[in-house]
């Protein structure tokens, strides 16, 4: 059921009117929010960003869920080690003392090892995935969606009842 929902939501996102940047940015916000626990100030900041900015909310929720799951399963321990390495690094002490006392930043709980580690890992993943996700959406809409749907063979194939059934199962009735 989860895989079905995943395929359906992916199809809906790829076929929606949202701009590719909105989808990619939503994925970034979702990844960062999922890398930190829900009580952390940074999570609430990300949630506010997802709600306030015109990003693809379902993408954000989806990436948040996936990242949260991975964090709970075992990545959070890695976050903690990374955060500890960063915060206890003697050469970075001056920077952290300045940065963690900045207005608003002081409320994000970044002085906790696991939260800072999660935020850093989430940020790196976000930077890494932003362009590929955007390109994926652009490519899908430009090539796959438009060209395949106009293809005669594809239209002939989708006229069969079995194909319609599979489409109903994987993509949903609204698609």
């Amino acid at each position: 059921m989860f895989i079905l929902n995943f395929i359906r939501s992916l199809y809906k996102v790829l076929s929606s009117d949202s701009s590719p940047s909105a989808v990619a940015l939503a994925a970034c916000f979702g990844v960062i929010a999922g890398s930190v626990p829900p009580w952390a100030g940074l999570f609430w900041l990300m949630l506010a960003c997802i709600l306030v900015f015109r990003v693809q909310i379902s993408t954000a929720i989806f990436t948040w869920g996936v990242t949260r799951l991975i964090s709970v399963v075992g990545l959070a321990r890695v976050y903690e080690r990374i955060g500890e390495k960063l915060l206890e690094n003697d050469s970075l002490r001056g920077f952290w003392t300045w940065f963690l006392n900045l207005p608003v930043v002081a409320w994000l709980d970044l002085h906790r090892y696991a939260v800072l580690g999660g935020a850093v890992v989430g940020l790196i993943i976000s930077i890494v995935i932003f362009i590929p996700v955007r390109q994926l959406v652009v490519s899908y809409r430009r090539y796959v969606h438009e060209k395949v749907s106009q293809n005669r063979f594809f239209r002939w194939l989708t006229s069969f009842w079995l194909t319609k059934l599979l489409k109903l199962i994987f993509v949903g009735a609204g698609a």
């Binding site: 709600l51 321990r77 003392t97 963690l100 906790r112």
Partner: protein, 452 residues
């Protein structure tokens, strides 16, 4: 691309309305409930407030009927109270995660200082654990013991190693420990700070449970405290305070500085009082004095310096008016002299003179081992006997008065005639006049008198 279109304005409006509704309709109640529940659970003190009005946008808050009690549960041991308080909060510091009040204006603050039957002072429990065991049976204690206890408590807090993450890691598997954190980024700043506390109509009610006599209270007072923070060792300026008011018809003024910045442990106190009944003094510092004060009044002008554990420097100027003493230990020693002889001589002199002024007493050593350096005043008093000394002092006072008078008269035309008349006067036959017992041989001048 218009950046304004990046924002979902409808969502912003809905969130704004929701927050505004919470702020105007329920925020005060939530804050009141949080403050009172924190006051019930606190291990340092119990506190409660009757009402609260938060104006976070304006950076202000108002509370009414503030009560602070000792952490002992189930007792009604109020230590501090105020009819109301206005707080001027710093919103800029709040964004930085600090709770800073620029000014707290207290309305009718009242401090209740109670000396219990076991000698402990109610205030010493503030800041301590709620279920602290009762003090062991022993000699009765007083304010000096309270000060020592507070001093040791502050030292313990200062010497506590900073919270670090170096504790051995427990086997937690894949689960992260979100409580592990770095504390050093916030060590250089106090989390809670009040720049100024000011109150008028200040009252201090004194009570001694061991005595049936009521003690006078400080009335119509003012209180000012500057730079009160949660981390005295890192605050920018030392904590300063000043209390003034009327007590038993006399004025009382106490000011001081508490400086625990860095490695310092400096405490200075500047006290000036009018005539205080000895019962008040006896109740609160009596146990630390080598003699018992039975009756009379004392005025004090003292500068106290306490620097660390090792340095104590107190130079009190005492004026004892018709004070009657009793030796605390009949066989003991005071100023290196027999206690009984000392008290007898002192009492005799005290009855003869209007006031005995001691300006050459010094208390040095340390808080835990004070050393009394009695000056010539007390030594001469005991050596020559009370009555003889009083007479001598009175005589000395008269002679000095005569000299001063002659000096003044010498400047005027009337002087020569009066000088002639004064030559024939036997000074010893003159009636006794109020005199002093200054260590340096000076005579106490009447109130209001200038050098003339």
């Amino acid at each position: 691309m218009n950046p304004l279109r990046w924002v979902r304005w409808k969502v912003v409006a809905v969130l704004g309305c929701g927050l505004a509704a919470l702020y105007f309709l329920g925020f005060d109640e939530i804050a009141l409930s949080k403050v009172n529940s924190a006051g019930e659970e606190s291990r340092a003190a119990r506190w409660s407030i009757a009402d609260m009005g938060l104006g976070l946008l304006a950076g202000s808050a108002e509370v009414s009927d503030l009560k602070v009690a000792t952490p002992r549960k189930g007792t009604d041991d109020n230590v501090f109270g105020a009819a109301g308080a206005k707080l001027d909060l710093s919103m800029k510091e709040l964004l930085r995660g600090r709770y800073v009040a620029e000014e707290v204006a207290l309305q009718a603050p009242k401090l209740t200082v109670t000396r219990r039957k076991d000698g402990s002072i109610n205030m010493e429990e503030i800041g301590g654990p709620p279920e602290e065991p009762p003090p062991p049976e022993g000699p009765p204690r007083d304010w000096v013991c309270t000060l020592r206890k507070w001093y040791e408590r502050i030292q313990k807090v200062r010497e506590k190693p900073p919270e670090r993450s170096k504790e051995p890691e427990k086997e937690r598997g894949a689960v992260a420990d979100y409580s592990r954190r770095a504390t050093y980024p916030f060590e250089g700043r106090p989390s809670f700070a009040i720049r100024k506390i000011a109150g008028t109509g200040f009252e201090i009610a004194f009570a001694d449970e061991a005595s049936s006599k009521p003690l006078p209270s400080l009335q119509n007072g003012t209180i000012e405290i500057y730079e009160l923070t949660s981390s005295p060792s890192v605050q920018g300026e030392p904590t300063r305070f000043r209390i003034a008011g009327d007590i038993a018809g006399s004025t009382l003024s106490i000011g001081g500085t508490l400086d625990f910045r860095g490695e310092r442990s400096l405490f200075t106190l500047d006290t000036a009082t009018g005539d205080l009944p000895v019962a008040l003094v006896e109740s609160f510092i009596g146990e630390s004095l080598p003699v018992k004060l039975k009756s009379g009044a004392i005025s004090l002008d003292a500068k106290v310096l306490l620097d660390g554990r090792e340095k104590l420097d107190v130079a009190p100027k005492l004026s004892l008016k018709k004070v009657e003493l009793e030796a605390r230990e009949p066989g003991g020693k005071i100023a290196g002299l027999d206690a009984a002889s000392f008290t007898q001589a002192f009492n005799e002199a005290s009855m003869e003179l209007d006031s005995i002024d001691i300006q050459d007493l010094k208390i040095t050593g340390s808080l835990f081992s004070p050393r009394f350096e009695w000056g010539d005043t007390v030594k001469n008093l005991v050596a020559s006997g009370g009555r003889a000394y009083a007479k001598k002092q009175a005589q000395k006072g008269l002679e000095m008065g005569k000299e001063a008078l002659e000096k003044e008269l010498g400047k005027s035309s009337l002087g020569d005639g009066i000088k002639e008349q004064m030559k024939g006067v036997d000074m010893k036959s003159l009636p006794k006049l109020p005199g002093g017992l200054f260590g340096g041989g000076e005579t106490k001048k009447p109130d209001g008198a200038e050098s003339k």
